[in-house]
Amino acid sequence: MKAAAKISLFVPCLVDQFYPDIAKHVMAVLSSLGYSVEVPREQTCCGQPAFNAGYRTEASRLARHFIATFNRAECIVAPSGSCVSMVKNHYQKLDLARQDVEQWGKIRSTIHEFSDFLIKHHAESSMKGQFPFRVYYHASCHSLRELGIRNAGFKLLSRFEGIELIDATPALESCCGFGGIFSLHHPLLAEQLGIDKIRSVEFSPSTFLVVNDAGCLLHMTGVIKHLQSKIIPLHLASILALAMGLERNEYYGKPTLDRATLSAKE
């Protein structure tokens, strides 16, 4: 099954500002699979931060902007379960004009979370690669529970040669403590949830904690650094790009992932 050949990429604001490489990796993976990827210029934020904090007027404004930006897209892909869920499940609670609602109806069915899109449209044979490391996969709460994407990321990762994929489902399905403004309102609580999560990952050299949402990544990175843990947090798209040989240069400046480490493991 082949989806529309042209993909409009939605780059979540956190990715845009803090982790631009994730967007590049998504593009690299999609391009390697034969898609032409466009990035609508006017895009900003889906409105989720405002919505989750209760600011619906602001969220509505951003929803209208999102709809206007993407209403002609044949197929939208975003590397974030929570942004996709925001668009799919929560826009209906916002103040939209009738025309917006009609266009949203279409967008709702054309927007896909990255891992879900890949697993639905690409058989194992089309995504080959190797990743000879130990990997824990944490699916973001919103992709799990709001979109019902249970194990797309896990399945994608299991396709790669040499990967040691750890199935620690109950521990990894619990929240990392980010929760948007929650992590600001309740810093100690959020930190503690993050620590619990990191502790559930049994460390060995070159252990990756892979997530499919930049929010989780931001939080876990923050906790990992605070704990001085050597676990490497990465977005799923980055792992795919690495494993499929699409990532060539040094990565984020993280010494653990440069060529030297990769070859040392071999």
Binding site: F18, D21, K24, A28, P49, G179, G222
Partner: protein, 495 residues
Amino acid sequence: MNITENPLWTGPPFQRKNDQGKVELMKERVNFSRNAEISLKNKNLQRNLDYSLTLSNKKRNELVETFPEWEEMRSHAAQLRTHVVENLEKYLREFSDNATQKGLQILWAKDATRACELIAGTLREHHVSRVVKSKSMLTEEIDLNNYLSKQGITPIETDLGEYIAQIASQKPSHITAPISHLSRQEVASIMSENLGIRYTEDPAELTSAARRILRSSFLSAEAGISGTNFGLAREGSLVVVENEGNARLSISLPPIHIAVMGIERVLPGLADLPLLLTLLTVSATGQRISNYVSIINSPSKQGEPDGPEKVFIVLVDNGRTEILRNVKYRPILNCIRCGACLNICPVYRKVGGHAYGSVYPGPLGAVLSPVLFSRTQYRDLPYASTLCGACTEVCPVKIPLHHLLLDLRADNVQSSARPTVERIMFSIFGLICSRPRLYRGLEKIIRCLQPLIRSRDGGLFIPGWSKTRYFPGLAPQSFHAQWQSEKMENNDISL
């Protein structure tokens, strides 16, 4: 005396003692952030919660696995509960008519005070001075024990957990597992100090000590008070679900039985019970069915050797019809009080029930407390969630708990209950993000200013965050800035 002075107290200081020396909830606005931080420091509490709640979740999850039709059951139950709540008047009328016909006496209570008056009045009328109680969160809600004590009537909790909480002058911290915040050692010292028994941590010995004492209470009590899990409209019967047998004794041994029931707890009829009962016990304790399920049809009839001579049902509104009027929050009335959302909630699992400062803690409480009791007092609770949705996923009657929390947050914003700084921040955020050119321009300016907002760990300084965690700096260039640059236009996306 503040309850925190009690060395056995493991919860945050949100409760106090009244003039009679009885514990009651504070009336001030609950400061959840502060309570949570106090709870987090209590390592003992962390351990106890982790131990008991992990176990409940595990049992529940393993049992749910054995029901291939679990999702259909949930959907069906959700529909059924919604139907009842939407036709509450009809079902309540039917319930009350049929119950009355069978000799059960119905008393209607508009609010907590009225409910307490009715119960105390009935007890006084029958010259009751000692009453045994089986577990009921509704009696906690109306603060019945304190009311009865003031009237000179002694209430004795007989559910083991509730009993231990009562002798320790503590409030339950969980709706089905009242002392899940306590360890076995803490229970042992509470019991040995208050009951004058020798210190032991052996659960069997502790239980039998409690049983000995409670048994005499059952025999001497002049009335029994119970909660109600379900009222069956077609039959006019009451359903009481429990594990210890204390409820059955409370409702069958003394000559008077008073059942307290929230008006939303009706089901159309007996035929609906198996589904709801299974969902309740599986979700609450991971049991296919509880040890005891009592269905009360009437007072004891002539010639019957046992059973109470009189049975009263106090139907309590206490704000429920208010919720019923508000379509947005109506689904919370579907709740069957299983406690599964508490057990699964990452926040509840860290802070325990007392931090919520309400009879109803956890995700259920974070929704119910503001809409049932007070928007002002429980203003913080909708933020006591990461919105992970685990509560919604586990709810046996599919209440969209974390979506209701979002609605409550929106209400707070609408009623200007949020700090000015936050309001301004989000207004600016909305303005910037709906103007792409402004957004793109500002991202460059902010990058120039970035060195000014560095935190000591080299990341960005974000108030509230940087105390405990590292926040990465902004990337040198945003993705869009890079994408727009010429290199990107040539479609060379190699890095």
